[in-house]
């Protein structure tokens, strides 16, 4: 593992320094998961919907070449200009060129995890262009100079008092006011003036329909619409896996998306952009950035079915207690941990290990991605590729030796119980990573084998 970059465990340790904060984070996300459950249980055909969505996406993966060509053709007929970007760098360059053509130095952007993945904001800032994120949560983390920690709830790691302080510094709200209603009203005023002034708007894309060449963007706030409808130029950035075959398939995905994400029956706005408004330019940037490579990995291609609802994060016992930033990737949580190694196996070698493999992520996924199985498979790929550290390999070898010899196993168990009883400090100390943020339980008096022999 790269020692220069902090790995998930080290970053999680920092997050765990504040225990009440961790508990709050954990409970808040679990509450969102429970809202999702209530919604799922209220739809009798929920499981059929998930299966159908997964099959539609499977069809998309198998026909992606044809759907991309069909989408491009229809989008062009609708009056859009379609660009293709092989990687993040090319995506950023295309967007920059469009902005330079317009001569703008400042523009609005609604939520797009793709532009986070490509680090567009930094790239544009280096070229003298300021991006104003308009989703409230994204604006908050932008003011705090942090990346989003969750794909749907970008500032879920922040307390309202911290947000009040940020708004006091940047927007001039009264010091000490941390009322969500008040702060949201202040952001509304601030961002309205940005919407009105901005001549270019960037949006993400939730679904792109091959049959019609249209794009659907879902928000609760209305920020994508405020930006796109007021701008002279609308730039929509999307990964090539966002395609769906036909308009009627939107019915399936729009039923699943918000229910899985936040436990709402649908987002407030589900906007269908097909043609540019009169006098407007509509640019669509289709981005690969490793997706075609992931498509070729049989064990991992299903990760491309993801509709970015975040349900796997809300349910994940590791995500809830380690925070989104510990994944050091634009997309955190279980889905991020199976997407990231495709982008850079070395940099993200730690992420598939940041899981208990409990399978809860796969159980809530609206498109039935086998997330926990992919996490397990990535571990094997990473170990074979030499991406894990030597101490772990040595430990695993030792475990293999002990577990494959029953006599040695019994002896080791006896020794361990004795050591933990007479000298717990030998195990429960700072050199044992399992002791961090945890207290080890008292050792059992006897092994299960001994107990079973007596009690069967």
């Amino acid at each position: 593992m790269n020692t220069a970059i902090k790995d998930h465990a080290e970053l999680a340790e920092a997050f765990n320094a504040n225990e009440p904060r961790v508990n709050w984070h954990d409970e808040t996300l679990w509450w969102v998961r429970q809202k999702r459950d209530k919604m799922a249980w209220s739809i009798p055909e929920w499981e059929t919907l998930r299966e159908t969505a997964s099959l539609i996406k499977h069809n998309v993966l198998g026909n992606l070449h044809a759907y991309l060509e069909e989408f491009e053709r229809n989008a062009q007929q609708n009056g859009a200009i379609v660009h293709w970007a092989a990687d993040a760098e090319e995506h950023n360059r295309i967007v920059l060129e469009l902005l330079q053509q317009q001569g703008v130095k400042r523009m609005v952007k609604s939520k797009s995890m793709l532009t986070e993945e490509c680090h567009l904001n930094h790239y544009l800032a280096d070229h003298g262009i300021e991006v104003i994120d308009t989703d409230l949560g994204e604006r908050i983390v932008q003011l705090a100079k942090e990346p989003p920690s969750h794909i749907v709830l970008p500032c879920i790691h922040k307390k309202k008092e911290e947000i009040g302080d940020l708004f006091h510094i940047h927007l001039g709200t009264p010091a000490g006011n941390a009322d969500p209603q008040f702060l949201t009203a202040a952001a509304r005023l601030h961002l309205r003036s940005e919407f009105i002034q901005s001549r270019v708007a960037i949006t993400g894309v939730n679904f792109a329909v091959a049959e019609t060449g249209e794009m659907v963007v879902c928000t609760n706030e209305g920020n994508a619409d405020m930006g796109a409808h007021l701008a002279d130029v609308h730039i929509a950035c999307m990964g090539i896996e966002k395609l769906i075959p036909q308009r009627k398939h939107l019915g399936v995905f729009l039923r699943l998306l918000a229910r899985s994400a936040t436990g709402q029956p649908i987002t407030t706005y589900s906007s269908h952009f097909r043609t540019p408004k009169p006098g407007q330019q509509l640019h669509i940037v289709l981005v690969d950035n490793g997706r075609s490579r992931q498509l070729g990995r049989e064990d991992f291609r299903n990760s491309l079915k993801c509709i970015r609802c975040g349900a796997c994060m809300n349910t994940c016992p590791v995500y809830r207690r380690s925070g989104g930033h510990s994944y050091h990737n634009a997309i955190a949580g279980p889905i991020g941990a199976i997407l990231a190694p495709n982008l850079d196996m070395k940099e993200y070698a730690d992420l598939p290990f940041a899981s208990t493999l409990c399978g809860s992520c796969s159980n809530v996924c609206p498109v039935k991605i086998d997330i926990h199985q992919q996490l397990y498979k990535w571990r094997q790929v990473l170990v074979q590729d030499g991406q894990t550290n030597a101490a772990k390999t040595a430990g695993m070898k030792m475990m293999t030796t002990v577990l494959s010899r029953p006599g040695l196993y019994r002896f080791a168990g006896k020794m361990a119980r004795w050591v933990m009883r007479v000298a717990p400090g030998v195990v429960s100390n700072r050199f044992n990573p399992w002791y961090k943020q945890r207290e080890l339980p008292p050792p059992p008096a006897e092994s299960f084998e001994t107990w079973y022999k007596k009690n069967r």
């Binding site: 808040t28 055909e45 159908t52 099959l55 539609i56 499977h58 069809n59 198998g62 026909n63 070449h65 991309l68 060509e69 293709w84 092989a86 308009t134 409230l136 908050i140 709830l153 970008p154 500032c155 307390k159 309202k160 969500p180 209603q181 949201t184 509304r188 919407f195 009105i196 019609t212 609760n220 706030e221 209305g222 920020n223 619409d225 405020m226 409808h229 007021l230 002279d232 090539i240 308009r247 009627k248 019915g251 039923r255 029956p265 649908i266 987002t267 407030t268 706005y269 589900s270 906007s271 269908h272 097909r274 043609t275 540019p276 408004k277 690969d288 075609s292 490579r293 498509l295 049989e298």
Partner: protein, 196 residues
């Protein structure tokens, strides 16, 4: 640019799995017809306010009572409000609507399972109208309420206009500590007037 296009398409073609059949969506279309009560329950849960009329002539007075202090009222149908703005709000890039206090429009249909209303550029005339106005009132014919999104898309069919949107409730956010706040960037309130 075209080079990347060809490169991406070639890589996709080479790496994509064997083609599979699309699932049948027909089973989702069956089921009980939509009821106003189901629609009301979900729409109110999403933060919408519901009013009922039997005659459209009742709407101007009802809206005036419900939204008494609106200075600039924009309506796509002048018959829906007595004090509708008379300036040329149709002309411009959308910014001409930034003072709009109340927008009144008609929806094509409503969806009972999620309280959403389908509106297109045809009804809105200016795309930004339902987002930029401080408050939004939508007239919905009770006979156009469908049970689910599948029924909605079946009825909508192919695109007739350049823009269409499902709107379910007022603009909202819960980004600050998951506290629900109405009125993020779009309309602060949504009133649905059901025409029976």
């Amino acid at each position: 640019m075209s080079n990347s296009r060809d490169k991406i398409l070639a890589a996709v073609k080479q790496n994509q799995p064997p083609a599979s059949q699309l699932p049948d969506l027909a089973p989702f279309i069956s089921g009980a017809p939509a009821s106003l009560e189901a629609f009301r329950k979900v729409a109110e849960g999403m933060g919408s306010h519901l009013l009922e009329v039997t005659d459209e002539a009742e709407i101007p007075a009802l809206l005036h009572e419900h939204y008494p202090d609106m200075e600039q009222v924009i309506t796509t149908d002048p018959l829906l409000h007595a004090r509708a703005a008379t300036f040329d709000w149709l002309t411009g890039d959308g910014r001409q609507l930034q003072q709009a206090d109340l927008a009144i429009v008609r929806a094509q249909l409503g969806v009972a399972e999620n309280g959403a209303l389908w509106l297109t550029e045809k009804e809105l005339q200016v795309r930004v109208l339902p987002f930029i106005a401080q408050h939004l009132a939508v007239v919905l014919d009770i006979n156009t309420i469908v049970p689910t999104m599948h029924h909605a898309y079946e009825k909508i069919g192919g695109p007739q206009t350049g823009f269409g949107v499902f709107i379910a409730g007022p603009s909202k956010t819960a980004d600050i500590e998951q506290s629900l706040v109405l009125g993020a960037h779009g309309a602060k309130s949504l009133t649905i007037i059901i025409k029976k």
